[in-house]
Assembly symmetry: C2
Homo-oligomer: 108 residues x 2
């Protein structure tokens, strides 16, 4: 069964995580995943084109923010909360707590 590569927890960098978060669509995906155990790519796409979203999912995986597991034809995405909390204590708490303040222009 194919699998995605995910960086090891100890190799995550703050700069990489910040870059992963510094985009409105990716931040919205992270906000959404902060409130659910996992979500399919389809449910996260909204009305956006799949092609542009693939890039965002890849950036989120490579920065260590997101884990994707494949089950059959479905891709399930989850936030790597435990890994992120271990590596950068308090960072995701602070980011996710800011969700109500941010105007959401998307469909998630």
């Amino acid at each position: 069964m194919p699998e995605y590569d995910h960086p090891a927890t100890e190799s995550l960098t703050l700069l990489g995580v910040l870059r992963g978060l510094a985009d409105p669509i990716r931040l919205e995906i992270v906000f959404h995943l902060g409130s659910v155990p996992e979500a399919t790519c389809a449910s996260l796409l909204g009305s956006r084109p799949r092609s542009s979203m693939s890039h965002h999912f890849q950036v989120l995986r490579e920065s260590g923010l997101l884990r994707t597991r494949i089950q059959g034809v479905q891709h399930f995405n989850s936030l790597r909360r435990a890994d992120l909390d271990f590596r950068f204590p308090g960072l995701m708490d602070a980011v996710l707590a800011a969700r109500p303040h941010e105007a959401s222009a998307g469909t998630l």
Copy 2:
């Protein structure tokens, strides 16, 4: 006396702050300013060209991370800790705590 514009605390956005932080040079400036009350532009330049650094200082000001006050011919920069802590509790604590983990390639 000329002054720089600084966005009001209530207008700061998480996305703007994350974008401000998501660059190795800007993150290094923020790390440095996290450990001192304020610093002159000259002391933050290191060996980098002034032209490219002006852009980074502008991004940091516009995102609400940095305040620049002008005194004579000197520009003094400080982190807007109180404003950032009020707007995004815990965010800067988490970012600055990660400093020892990040390899520094710069001169700051």
